[in-house]
């Protein structure tokens, strides 16, 4: 099995995190549907994502959306820093038996799982006076096997959330 080298792991994990972070918080801020970001959206994953928000386990991305909705239309998440580590260079969980060009995909870091930690600020309500708090959020992203099929759907995400831990600080 040709594992990706360290340089590839760093590049793939940083870039995946970068893309994820900007898309995910944009989706939250614009009240878009969150399901496509989670392994819940992929039939290849038998388990749902583990979503823990302020100490409470949230069953589904839709439930999380509902919590976010309750924060009012002015709620806004802004990223101040993030960091990412490659965790498992060849993630296997839920993988199909035959991944197209598996050796190449694997060598290029296509199967890596990634831990992302984000620090940012959460503003509730509009305007300068609106209260702001810090938040820290950690995700574990895993490969979206559906994106490796022969004809992946357009705009399909390459990594999905398997684990999420959010805390307002």
């Amino acid at each position: 099995m040709p594992l990706p080298d360290n340089d590839t792991l760093v590049r793939v994990s940083s870039e995946a995190a970068e893309t994820f972070v900007s898309n995910y918080y944009q989706a939250i801020n614009s009240r878009s549907t969150l399901l496509p970001f989670y392994i819940n959206s992929s039939p290849r994953y038998a388990i749902p994502a583990d979503i823990s928000i302020n100490g409470t386990v949230v069953a589904t991305p839709a439930d999380y959306s509902q919590l976010l909705e309750g924060q009012g239309t002015g709620a806004h998440y802004e990223i101040e820093s993030f960091d990412a580590h490659p965790v498992n260079p060849s993630f296997q969980y839920g993988a199909p038996e035959n991944v197209q060009d598996n050796a190449k995909v694997e060598r290029n870091g296509g199967r890596v799982s990634i831990a992302v930690t984000i620090m940012g600020r959460l503003q509730l309500g509009r305007g300068r006076e609106a209260p702001q708090t810090m938040f820290n959020e950690t995700f574990v992203l895993v490969p979206n096997w559906d994106s490796m099929s022969k004809n992946p759907a357009r705009g399909v995400k390459r990594w999905l959330i398997m684990s999420q831990n959010f805390r307002a600080l």
Partner: protein
Amino acid sequence: MAPRGRVGAPVGRETRSSAMKSKSAKTTRGGIQKRGRGSTRTDGDGDLDMDSAGARAKKTTPADSSTTRSRPSTRAAAAQSAKGPSRTAQNVLKHLTNGSASSLASRVSGGKGKGRQQDTSGLSFLRVGGLKQSKAASNPGGGLNDLLAFMERKSSSFLTGRHKRNIAIKKSHYVGDYVYIGASEVDAEELIKLNTFTFAGTPLEVVKVTDVPEKGNRAVESKDTQELRSRLQSILSQRYLGANKLLKLDSLASDTDLVTLGMFDNRERALKTFKGLMAICDGLFKTDKEKQDAIESISLAANNIDDVAQVEVVATTFPHLKNLDMSGNQVADIQRMDRWKGKFKHLETIFMTGNPIEAADPNYQATLLEWFPKLQNVNGIQLRTPEQIAEKEAASKPKPIPQNGPDFRDVGGVGENFLLEFFTCYDNDRPGLVSRFYDEDSQFSVSIDTRSVRNADAPPPMPWASYIKLSRNLTKINHQNARVQRLFQGANTIGDAWKTLPFTRHPDIKQELTKYIMDCHPMPGLVDPNGQNSIGVDGLIIAVHGEFDEHDQTTNATGKRSFSRTFILGPGKPGRGIIRVVSDMLSLRAYSPLPNVFAASAPEPAVHSQHQAMIAELSKQTGMTPQYSEMCLVQVNWEFDKALIMFNEKKMRSSR
């Protein structure tokens, strides 16, 4: 304060009404300025009565009155052809309603100190003297347009060859004896060359100025303008019922005073008149508060309004209005009210009876309730109570996602034991810690957030110097090399990185648990260190948030910092410890205390009202102030009987 006017101002009403319908240029002036006072002067914008005998008599320049042949000017011609009963009134209204808000405000409020900055950005200003003494001064518009045209034409004509361009005067206005003009810097350079040039028989004086006197300076406002203003003010004051804080602007078109002024001759004039009235209203009050207190209700009934755009200015002039009567108008559908949407944030009552909308749109009342958040009453029927409005407001307020205690789904105490050991060792024995939990595949990085929000009472943030070189904040570290270098891999590398980081002292987890928030849950899919399970092995992901005291050994600085640290733990490699750190991500920010997530997460409102009731009861029984009662209850953890006992004990002790 009521709209006041000089009620006793004498007005030649009878002459005016006859002049009104006349079309000749000579008689288009309204009666106001025809009552020859012999002291007619130019008004603020240089509008001068061409046919006023007084104006000519007053001339001091050699300009011969018999030869005041108007110089042909397209701009002036347009003005000349304007017809209407009261030209002055028209001018006043033009100035009241046109132009920028600042000129409007300054115009109406006069020297009341409400003056706002004019927008003069990017323009150079010149002061031009001589127009008043020139023959052109008797032209329509006081010759201002002729002067401007002359200056633009003349200065442009000096530019030849590739410099050829049209000089443009962007702004101009008359103040006292001078005309102030604004033009771009390069154009101003050319215009200033016209100094001493002869214009209409008079040498011009063109000088550069930095200060432009305010346009609406009362001192240079003509008597006519002042008089019309006072007429309108007088009309307004008759229509103001101070006791009811009501301004009755109903049936304006049948107001004989307004009609005789010629203010409602046609639709366009009527609209301008209305804007003028609003501007005068606005100018009567020194502060918004004063206005808000004086006028709570306005009636616009029976004004033939078919779109509120015609009276949109009511919403901007009286944003705090509480009651509005729109009955007996011609509003046909809700679109015709669209311009008021999102305005009148304090409107409580509206009357729409007698408008076609009543029959056309059965839902219009519901729409109005949506548009005006405080609206309770439509057409005299209460549709919602203040309580319902308050409830709706409360419901729309942002509600933070509730905080709960630790979500610590540990497996066999692995996470707990790791954390108990970790922070003590990190403070005291980093080399020992690294050798116990980290191996050649473990990863560590630190990222700093230098922009974090802090509590207002938090101490000033510590400097970041000791962390900058290591920080792997990927929003800032964009280059692949730096990203590789700042991800520390392997126990030795991590140990070396830790040596460069400042000394820390974390609070004792057992003693000060509330200074931490710790969440922990299992995660599958880690590399099996034994290489047996290809699917991977399960581990834990732990997120810890907290604070530590820092002592920077290089700068000797000490202080607090806040951190978040994520660990991914997995089973140890063969022949090593039981668990290993797969990943260790440290995030730092300026110190700010954590929310206490251990506080009772029971539904808060219930507890709160219960507490309030206990405070009230304790105050009643003991005679203590509510504050003392609360302190007392907090001390005994809200056990009412204990609070009473404590009170009695203290009372006995103090009476001894």
